[in-house]
């Protein structure tokens, strides 16, 4: 059974038709890259899956269960967790409080503590700064916090929206390593990226979307070789 199946999804924002019959799947344990230009509809796709926007047509199924139009808070509880564009850490709360909020929907407090310890082990920079306000972290640290906070919810499918945005190349590599590690522990990942090169390095498969529909799909190796992808997203290499 696929972790995520999106079938014929349509989203309208007033008069703007942002998604037009978009379909894609993420298999269990897979990393799937979602590529596309600015305004192609990548963020909209993730928001429609996590319940932040309501699709006007189509179906979203998570682990075989229809979740189309469910509330975000209910979707998180199922283990489908969206790390939004621009990190959106809680700026005036401490790093530790941000992580505790990831455990909001988890009943077992001992389990929350265990997960936070695991996040600190995976992302030692956060442990050093656990008392600092989230908003005062560097961009890369905020990205780590956004991912760490999502990990505390206990995700089986993680939606990541441009985690490399605005980060220096070395930091991008570090973020990608973390994503690879999370995936190695069994979490499936749908990874939205402008940085196609970085994304296709860790992804198993990928989709390219334009104007709200999927125009190209294949294994990461195929997409890396594809001349259209190379011209549009890899700087003509």
């Amino acid at each position: 059974m696929a972790a995520l199946e999106i079938d014929g999804l349509d989203v309208h924002y007033g008069g703007v038709h942002a998604l037009r019959g978009l379909s894609l799947t993420v298999g269990e344990g897979e990393v799937v890259a979602l590529l596309g230009n600015n305004g192609a509809g990548k963020t909209t796709t993730l928001s429609a899956v996590s319940g932040l926007v309501r699709p006007s047509a189509g179906r979203v199924a998570y682990e075989g269960r229809d979740i189309t139009g469910a509330k975000p808070s209910a979707i998180v509880r199922l283990g489908l967790v969206h790390v939004p564009e621009g990190r959106r850490v809680f700026s005036t709360l401490s790093v530790h409080d941000n992580l505790l909020l990831g455990g909001y929907a988890v009943g077992d407090q001992a389990e929350v503590r265990r997960r936070i310890d695991r996040v600190y082990a995976l992302l030692p920079r956060l442990a050093e700064r656990s008392g600092q306000q989230g908003g005062t972290l560097s961009g890369g640290e905020q990205q780590m916090l956004a991912i760490g906070r999502a990990l505390v919810t206990g995700p089986r499918l993680l939606l990541l929206d441009e985690p490399s945005m605005g980060l220096a190349p070395l930091v991008v590599a570090a973020v990608m390593d973390v994503i690879r590690e999370i995936n190695a522990e069994g979490t499936a990942v749908l990874l939205v990226e402008q940085n196609a090169r970085a994304a296709l390095k860790i992804a198993h498969r990928g989709y390219v979307i334009e104007n709200g529909t999927c125009v190209l799909t294949g294994t990461a190796a195929d997409l890396r070789e594809d001349t259209r992808v190379a011209e549009a997203y890899l700087g003509g290499v």
Binding site: S50, G51, L52, K71, S91, L101, G102, Y104, Q133
Partner: protein, 297 residues
């Protein structure tokens, strides 16, 4: 001198209780809930009704009975606040702020004139007044009832502060105030957190309403109007959206009025409050303790 300080702190603790609800609601949905003062009025009337239903009150039982009525009224007024949000504000959450503000003014009128229709325009005499044994504290005359009321107010404020800063629910409230979307993505039910915030804020206003009824002895359907504006002023002085700041703002406003009226006369009392409001709005709109945070962009 110490009498002035005591009077100021006493009135200020009322302002602070009412201002907290103002501030919490503003913090969480950025709405100036102009109907908040009317929830205080509603609390006073609910307390009045419950006391009436309880029948005659013997003098010795006044304080325990009042505490019981206080708790009951807090619950009912809290639910009234939840209902107000549900009926009037929720569907406007994405709407321009001005629509919300106008709705709040409308809700305020609806509560005031609804109460007038239900209970008449004449003031009601509160069926319980606490006996006035008084003490001398640092030269100030303090009645036991005043002490009891201030103690209740302080306990409520300490409880609220602990709830917001220490508990899981409080952390969720702060998260929703900062970024409702990100909070929803953490599994927080944003609507439920907003309802809880209205409940707490309205319950505190209801408590203040009962306490005011018992202290002043008279209540009427417009009693929430002025105190609503004063509470707004107190919240602005301390930093609207900031809980300790709002408590401080309430106490400072009480002190300011107490000293101001002593030096210039009682007719100046409200001039002080609103002069200070205008001063803060122009010079320091974030208030004394508002948002001290350095945020990276």
């Amino acid at each position: 001198m110490s009498q002035l300080v005591w009077n100021g702190l006493f009135v200020g603790s009322f302002y602070a209780l009412v201002a907290l609800g103002y501030s919490m609601v503003y913090g969480i949905i950025k709405l100036l809930n102009f109907a908040h003062g009317d929830l205080y009025m509603l609390g006073a009337f609910i307390g009045f009704a419950v006391l009436g239903a309880a029948g005659g009150v013997s003098a010795g039982m006044a304080l325990p009975l009042l505490l019981f009525v206080l708790v009951l009224t807090m619950g009912v007024t809290g639910l009234a606040g939840v209902l107000l949000e549900r009926v009037a504000y929720r569907r406007l959450r994405g709407a321009p702020r001005l629509s919300l503000l106008i709705t709040a003014v409308g809700a305020s009128f609806a509560l005031e004139y609804g109460m007038r229709a239900a209970s008449g325009a004449d003031p009601r005499v509160y069926p319980v007044r606490l006996g006035g044994t008084s003490l001398e504290v640092f030269g100030a005359r303090v009645t036991l009832q005043q002490l009891a009321l201030v103690a209740v107010a302080v306990l409520l404020m300490i409880g609220l502060n602990l709830l917001v800063t220490r508990s899981r629910e409080g952390r969720a409230m702060r998260a929703v105030a900062l970024d409702p979307k990100a909070a929803a993505l953490m599994g927080i039910d944003v609507d439920a957190v907003i309802s809880r915030t209205f409940f707490l804020g309205s319950a505190l206003a209801g408590a203040a309403g009962v306490m005011a009824g018992a202290h002043y002895g008279k209540i009427d359907f417009m009693m929430g109007f002025l105190i609503g504006l004063k509470a707004f002023t107190a919240a602005v002085i301390g930093g609207i959206g900031n809980i300790p700041g709002t408590m401080l703002g309430g106490l400072l406003l009480g002190l300011l009025e107490s000293f101001g009226t002593f030096w210039l006369g009682g007719e100046w009392r409200d001039v002080f409050a609103f002069g200070v409001l205008i001063l803060f709005l122009t010079v320091r709109p974030t208030g004394l303790l508002g948002e001290r945070v350095t945020e990276r962009v």
